[in-house]
Symmetry: C2
């Protein structure tokens, strides 16, 4: 490969234990989240290989993993395409799924919270409050990242590998919708308050209240998004 930077990870960190397919996976994930790969666009294996200066084999492996996340869809002998934009029904289903998983995560996380986990959660909410959110699209990223991190941390603190895996499959879709749903950040103040309410319940050590606050948050997110994006 002409660009030495990708191989630097292997050469510079012989203990890295990371292979090319992992880098390709992360690169594609980033492009998917950035919008560089728009929904519906074809993802050519050979094309991506040329773009990333690798052979098609690692690209194929990375795409096989991505398919399982729902970010890309595969049609045999036709190739991969970026998953289409969410319809209103898709969004409703996603929120329904969140409502059945995230409150459980919140309840369990509250019961099993570690001091470090609580600190991380506090930091996530703090980042939400301080993140810039007025300017261009790129500035949303830190806000959205903190949002996703908050929910991800709760799922992790629930200390259940299966619930964590289940949430992670949703998390990517949620993040993708946040970016491509067509709605900007119009509800930051309310969303921050709802996150704070969940955090307060966690600090107070009240699992049931934490679950209830999470239900409240997700339902309000759904309500706001459905109102903001009446497009169909």
């Amino acid at each position: 490969m002409a660009d030495p930077s990708p191989s630097a990870a292997r050469a510079g960190f012989p203990v890295s234990r990371q292979v090319l397919a992992d880098h390709v996976y992360e690169a594609l994930l980033e492009w998917l989240m950035d919008g560089r790969l728009e929904p519906g666009a074809a993802v050519s294996i050979d094309g991506m290989a040329r773009e990333l200066d690798v052979s098609p084999t690692p690209v194929r492996e990375a795409l096989a993993r991505l398919e399982h996340t729902g970010m890309v869809r595969r049609v045999a002998l036709k190739g991969y395409r970026v998953a289409p934009v969410f319809t209103r029904e898709d969004f409703a289903e996603l929120m329904e799924a969140r409502l059945s998983i995230e409150p459980v995560n919140a309840r369990l996380a509250c019961s099993r919270m570690t001091p470090d986990g609580l600190d991380a959660l506090k930091q996530a909410v703090e980042d939400l409050k301080t993140a810039p959110r007025g300017g261009s699209f790129a500035e949303y990223r830190s806000y959205l990242e903190a949002d996703e991190r908050f929910h991800q941390l709760i799922a992790a603190q629930a200390s259940n590998q299966f619930l964590l895996a289940a949430y992670n499959t949703l998390g990517g879709q949620i993040q993708r919708f946040r970016l491509f749903g067509g709605v900007g950040i119009t509800d930051a103040e309310q969303a921050i308050a709802e996150h704070q309410a969940v955090l307060d319940a966690m600090i107070g050590g009240d699992p049931e209240k934490a679950a209830a606050m999470m239900v409240d948050h997700v339902e309000k997110v759904r309500g706001r998004a459905m109102a903001d994006a009446p497009e169909d």
Copy 2:
């Protein structure tokens, strides 16, 4: 390759719209479920390629997909291994996850049930009742298959792609535990009655009762398994 037989799969089904990696995926899945690949065993890419008479590339792609299901684990530059047997804690976590997802599926499935779906559910319970379960291990298979099919159908009838995906990631693990958990079929009569209770609630069109019956079923499964397998 010298032996032309492997290409027969392609030549014989020109309309199959299925590629080699899909066949490899299904073959590996079957071997994992059969016990031919025991937990903890190494899954060599080259070895599987020789065994299946294909090149390593499709095997690599199939394993990349399987990794996301939790059936196999990958260590970079070291290869794939069959996921280890469930510990008591793993099983408890799995049941906890089921308790947060399957009752929701049952409630939604009851509300959105189609006539065809209901027929399929009835058939699954009927198969549970008539399946042989006294003899050898191989005879369990039809019973276990009907069990898994019952839960899978409910998840499908919930008409929520995300909940279905979430359940499917659990379903494989559940099935794997049924086979390798160390417990035989000692609770068929009770389990069938519990399935019947869920089905009756569905027939009666009572979503809340269907959810409650599902909770009852999963909790009792957990109770019986934890009592039967005190190994630690």
